[in-house]
């Protein structure tokens, strides 16, 4: 189980702040993030491409979308814009 937190305009636009998910890599999380956003906002413009462009941090440290995850990790997703 990992905790996923959204930041920046991704969070404001989707209304999703955080949720828990099962995944062993950041990439594997994307469909679940998308599902969570769609459940909250069915007409959200966010796509998997949007998520792939996000900056990623695991347990507070910036990493790449390829990063592996383990139980208890906290994943931050920043739309690229909030990275800057």
């Amino acid at each position: 189980m990992v905790t996923v937190k959204l930041f920046g305009t991704l969070r404001l636009d989707s209304g999703v702040r955080e949720f828990t998910a099962e995944a062993d890599s950041v990439r594997a999380l994307y469909p679940q993030v998308l599902a969570e956003i769609r459940a909250r906002k069915p007409d959200s413009a966010v796509t998997e491409k949007t998520l792939r462009a996000c900056l990623v941090a695991v347990n507070g440290q910036q990493t790449t979308p390829r990063a592996r995850l383990k139980n208890g990790d906290v994943v931050y997703l920043f739309p690229a814009v909030a990275g800057g």
């Binding site: 920046g8 900056l55 690229a80 814009v81």
Partner: protein, 639 residues
């Protein structure tokens, strides 16, 4: 007089001692060289200060200068600048403000106002279509900035028998009591840095109002309208200026700074604050922001409006969130909004107030100076700020700023200031180019005057923040460009648009990663441009400023000439500061940032300052003493 549009063609000297005005000669050649704003102010200070003046002496000058774009309707162009010999740093400094005073100063017929001398009693000055009237301000004494401005508006309306549309600058109790980092307030916006409010206070000048009917002309109205339309569309479509800043304000950077280890925490002992989510831009937007606001003519509208004491007031910027948040170990966002409001009302710079406070908390913890202030303290702070503004109890000492306090009590290694000015909330040990900028910045520890390299080192682009490679040259080119942008009268946030949107939208893309990897190696190429910017004998859409200047003023300027004007501005400021003792020895940071790694397991996480400084001086064509020589000043046409 001037042959250029946009300008009003008039600069006046107001002598507070004699209560008389006289014309100041400022030619079109000066306009071509210095554009306006802070460059103009620096040149005026350069021509009039000898190095023997003191910040609180009547011989000190205040220069309030607009840019040619101010008040012309160009996007985000309503800024003005206040420059003077700073009581915080002891050298000349400038403070930029988005309030409406600049707009109305031009309506009153002036491009700039130079103030010298001092009033005998507290006064306020009314400028009406170029005429000056002095008013006794005894009834305004000790009034906070909001009440001062409300009272002045009422007085003007009553005196003229109608609603007067005007711009104002004023000081609060902090300025009157010579707090070294007192600000000048215009509307709700502050010329916050460097203690310009205290210089007003030393001259017993409580406020200035400006009104009039003059309108700056525009050289090519159709061309300007077309250009501005395109530019505003670009600003609105850009991910930073069209999405992030309007939705999150500058506060939107807090989370990103946290991840990059750039968020000043516990007086810069750390770069990450565990409770950052309670004080970030997202939480501010979701829980407290009730509306967006903006300076006149700005399509970005980055200002937050938050509720405090039943009123809706200006919300905190990123720097205040960082410095009154993690840097003093406070995670109460509502408190930060309240303190931000209180500090603006008292007329005090939030950055220097918070930076000094953090030093005091650490000094107290270490037993160096027992002030009773501890990290995490919340209850007492409103009172402490009031005490600073009135120089009561420990407030009298805190009003001196962290450099003076640490000289007196010790703890200079953790007084987070440069040239006496407290640093903004960007912790530079993970963005060493920003560290270089803080150290060499003419006005002291200022993120913007330092070149704002952090925007390339994680908060925009994502180049390696730890490498010193290429940073000196990048620092110079950024400083010069920002300098020139500011001289025109425009907000520096428009410069985010210089980074193409696609670079920001997908930082994980192949091209973007390649650019991020390559930029630090571009130092030599940037150096060539820095040496001969005239190679850019054209203009490009990503940097629309010179084109806007042309449509508005009729002054032809290529990108290269524009950059050169920025360089000239930077050098003239340096040259006048040299008279007040600035040299390479003053371009420094506290040891905490240069000697102690942020991550004890990673020795690279500190600022390799001396190494970068040498390259920076070479890039600038300055001597080893960190100063432009006679030849350099002549080549730039300063001398």
């Amino acid at each position: 007089m001037t042959n250029y549009c946009g300008y009003m063609g008039k600069v006046l000297v107001l002598d507070l001692t004699t209560k008389k005005t006289e014309n100041y000669i400022w030619t079109d050649l000066d306009r071509e060289k210095y554009i306006g704003g802070k460059a103009m102010a620096s040149k005026i200070l350069y021509d009039n200060l000898t190095g023997s003046e003191t910040p609180f002496g009547p011989e000190n000058l205040i220069v309030i200068a607009t840019g040619p774009l101010t008040g012309t309707g160009a996007p985000s162009s309503n800024r003005f600048d206040i420059s003077s010999l700073s009581p915080l740093t002891g050298i000349t400094s400038s403070s930029n403000c988005g309030g409406n005073f600049g707009h109305y100063l031009k309506k009153a017929g002036l491009d700039a106002l130079i103030i010298r001398g001092a009033c005998e009693e507290l006064n306020w000055v009314e400028i009406d279509n170029g005429e000056f009237v002095f008013h006794d301000a005894a009834d305004l004494q000790d009034l906070k900035c909001g009440e001062t401005q409300d009272t002045l508006q009422k007085k003007l309306n009553e005196a003229h028998g109608r609603q007067i549309r005007c711009g104002m600058v004023c000081i609060g109790p902090a300025g009157e009591n010579l707090v070294r980092y007192a600000s000048v307030i215009s509307g709700e916006r502050a010329a916050g840095r460097a203690g310009m409010g205290a210089v007003f206070g030393s001259k017993k000048l409580k406020a200035i109002t400006a009104a009039g009917d003059a309108v700056p002309t525009v050289f090519d109205k159709e061309g300007a309208a077309e250009h501005r339309k395109k530019w505003v569309n670009y600003i609105r479509s850009h991910p930073l200026t069209g999405d992030q800043l309007p939705k999150l304000g500058t506060a939107g950077l807090v989370s990103s700074m946290q991840v990059h280890g750039l968020l000043s925490t516990r007086n810069y002992a750390k770069g990450q604050f565990e409770e950052f989510e309670k004080v970030n831009g997202e939480t501010l937007a979701e829980e407290l922001n009730v509306a967006n606001n903006g300076c006149l003519s700005c399509p970005i509208r980055c200002t937050r409006r938050v509720p405090v004491e039943g009123k809706t007031v200006k919300g905190p910027e990123l720097e205040t969130l960082g410095l009154l948040g993690g840097n003093i170990e406070n995670a109460d966002l509502e408190q930060i909004c309240r303190w931000n409001y209180e500090l603006d009302e008292l007329g005090m710079d939030t950055i220097s107030a918070a930076g000094t406070l953090a030093w005091a908390m650490e000094a107290n913890e270490k037993g160096i100076w027992k002030s009773g202030l501890a990290f995490g303290e919340r209850e007492k702070l409103s009172q402490v700020f009031d005490d600073i503004a009135h120089r009561r109890g420990i407030g009298a000492e805190l009003a001196e700023g962290s450099r003076r306090l640490s000289k007196k009590y010790g703890g200079q290694d953790f007084a987070i200031q440069s040239k006496g000015m407290e640093l903004a909330a960007y912790e530079p040990r993970r963005a060493v180019g920003q560290g270089l900028g803080y150290a060499v910045a003419n006005r002291g520890g200022c993120h913007l005057n330092g070149g704002y390299l952090v925007v390339l080192e994680g908060l925009g682009l994502n180049i390696d923040g730890q490498t010193p490679r290429g940073k000196a040259d990048l620092c110079m080119v950024m400083q010069d460009l920002m300098e020139a942008i500011s001289c025109g009268g425009q907000c520096l946030f428009t410069s985010y648009g210089v980074v193409p949107g696609f670079m920001i939208r997908n930082p994980n893309g192949l091209l973007q990663r390649a650019v991020n990897a390559v930029v630090p190696f571009a130092g030599p190429a940037v150096r060539v441009y820095n040496k001969i910017p005239e190679v850019a004998c054209f203009n490009i859409p990503l940097i629309p400023y010179p084109t806007e200047l042309y449509y508005t003023t009729g002054m032809k300027m290529t990108l290269g000439q524009f950059t050169r004007a920025g360089e000239r501005s930077y050098n003239v400021e340096r040259a006048v500061n040299a008279r007040f003792g600035v040299s390479a020895a003053n371009d420094k940071l506290p040891k905490r940032l240069t000697d102690a790694p942020q991550d004890p397991n990673n020795p690279k996480t500190k600022v390799p300052l001396e190494q970068m400084k040498k390259t920076y001086y070479r890039a600038r064509g300055w001597g080893k003493n960190g100063l432009p020589g006679e030849k350099k000043l002549r080549r730039l046409g300063i001398r």
